[in-house]
Symmetry: C2
Amino acid sequence: MPQPVATRNQTLDKLTLALDSGALVDVRRMLNGLPPAEIAHLLESSPPKFRNILWKMIEGDLEGEVLGELPDDLQAHFLSRMDAAEVASITEGLEDDDIADILQQLPDRVTWEVLNYMDHQDRTRLESVMLYPDEVAGGLMNTDAITIRPSLTLDVVMRYLRRHEEIPEMTDNLIVVNRSDQFIGVLPLRTLLVSDPGVTVREMMITDIDPIPVDMPDDEVARLFERNDWVSAPVVDGSGKLLGRITIDDVVDVIREDADHSFMSMAGLDEEEDTFASVGKAAPKRAVWLGINLITAFIAAAAINMFQDTIDKVVALAVLMPIVASMGGIAGTQTLTVLVRGIAMGQVGRNNQNWLLSREVTIGLLNGLVWAAVVAVAASLWFDDWHIGLIIAAALIINLVTAAFTGAALPLLLTRMNIDPALAGGVVLTTVTDVVGFVSFLGLATLFYA
Amino acid sequence: MPQPVATRNQTLDKLTLALDSGALVDVRRMLNGLPPAEIAHLLESSPPKFRNILWKMIEGDLEGEVLGELPDDLQAHFLSRMDAAEVASITEGLEDDDIADILQQLPDRVTWEVLNYMDHQDRTRLESVMLYPDEVAGGLMNTDAITIRPSLTLDVVMRYLRRHEEIPEMTDNLIVVNRSDQFIGVLPLRTLLVSDPGVTVREMMITDIDPIPVDMPDDEVARLFERNDWVSAPVVDGSGKLLGRITIDDVVDVIREDADHSFMSMAGLDEEEDTFASVGKAAPKRAVWLGINLITAFIAAAAINMFQDTIDKVVALAVLMPIVASMGGIAGTQTLTVLVRGIAMGQVGRNNQNWLLSREVTIGLLNGLVWAAVVAVAASLWFDDWHIGLIIAAALIINLVTAAFTGAALPLLLTRMNIDPALAGGVVLTTVTDVVGFVSFLGLATLFYA
């Protein structure tokens, strides 16, 4: 039974308490009473040591489903302790795409061993799904579609369905194919249920749906689902042959990951980043990002270094210079954020990017003028020197316009170069706004005070 | 017919070309050949002037559906030019929750006028949906659920369905209610289609599903859908009476917006931010955020100001000090990002926050030690003074540990105070890492060089 969030945290707290007090029987009972997705959430929300204890308590028949709900790195973690026979047994009954995901976490040798434990039909089906990488339509698809022929009457279709033990979850459409398994159209269950049983599938099917090509990138698949409010959609190969279907539950995961991607990338993190990764796993990844940003910081320092003599004359410059750099960074990040999201949503193209660029520069100039005036007055009063006020005002305007231009042009340029703008954009942007900020401010000051 | 992204941008380009060349007849034809969601995407992806031209070209019978797919601020924009009769006519045939969304963009007076144009039944149904704010279950729900009684046989249910002109989209379950309309359970269509027609609904229905309380926040609703792979779910009031149902297409919008929220908030932007807002709309919002960050920048400047004498003696300090501050900012932002996402995903609770806090501080210390060593050597060589190397190393360690602690503790604290950590976290964090960075570096230098 699903539990609202409040109750979920209480369950978590109760479980922690039980674990702490060593009441392992209670923990086991509570844990196995939860739906698999909740157990997976619990494992994800637990520090590493805890995770292993909890995992051992999960009953055998739940393990596969829980595993299917876990992110890749956690799947790999638990799989590394199993042999091929165990993997084959716990993945039995899962959906093809989930099994394929799990098998992809294993070393190739083990994967083939696991496949050998399966019966021929399962293995053939799985191999067809595993042909495709995770991030295209083929990697999201299941092979559980119910197919029918156009010549059948609806009455026959109904009887055919009744012969099924079970209709797969998320089945909103039956898929109509010809003799060579080529996609022709779909027959929605909602049409089947209200139509005259005597008419044929051909008369009632919908044919103006484009099936999804098996190599379509997953973010495009997600956009199609969003735009068309689909629950499931057929997947075909280059010749139009039906290969399987994609269902909305897997698409929701893609949407969630894609949306997370930009957010995490801006801080140099991965969208699959494990919130509860151990120090040993998290620290090296973070260190790399700090190292990259250290280069940026040294470049900025080198820019300041050129003006040692000027700072030596007017120490107030050292006090004020971070203001120019940081305001540029903030303004540039805003522009970058708007552009990165626009690009991710497929809104930005050749036809509107010039408009965006000029709007951003205009905003940069306007806000530069407004805040330059404020900072000029504040700095003049603080150091009792209106020259320094004018200098910082000019530098601020220069830096905010530069920041706006860079924040807008950079993601467009990076995207064209196939570099992720969310990941690389921030670092390059900060380098530019720091250097331009320091150089314009200290440079103008040098011209004036030298 | 849905179009893949590549083709979509080509359509956009072709449209732009046609518009530029004044070939308005072509534009109109192309535009009205697209599905409503694509037209909405086109409007969203166009600069303001363009939008108004395109909107005028949309055929009357498509206007309502296009409007329903637009974000709130664009709905409000186009609605502001219509009178109540027009609004009533173009919203005819839309889903309840979409109409309710649209009406909420109108001034109250106009909303009531629009409602007066509707027939009694539509009005009553709509009013029941409009009772609830957008961000709870009630605001997401439709009233189009098909309900059945538990005593019916499946055969009777099938005949009852056949009497319907149409079954609402996204109907995967029929909802079972008692005489006083209270929720009892659901009968999946996939069960109905494979079961013996002679058995009763009571025997086949699923009762271990908790219906969604009408006042549940929308992000919790989204989590329930994600965890349980639902296509639709019943909504009930406090007494268990069925009010309507929520479908996955509306939940996907919630997921998309929630995920966008953190990303946009970190740059002080709104998740509903219009990528193509005019300068007049975008500039003031951005200015406010710059103003808030200007305060931060002045606080940092004030911290530096305390050490004017020291900088005057050793100008190299001014060159190196931004390195300490910016490394702290980067490290702190990483921690903040991990925590903000963990909190948004409901992973962080009382039971694991201490573990997280201590892991982050440990990572901060380790990475502080690593990069402090590198910076110490670089700074010593650069300025030929190993004292300055030791001082910057110590300051860097202090600031990275502070950054880790602040980046982890701050979102936990802000969440407890009901302040959005994604929005406020970055500003406070930067203030802390700047001040601690400058004070520790310049402070240690003062102790040594004074």
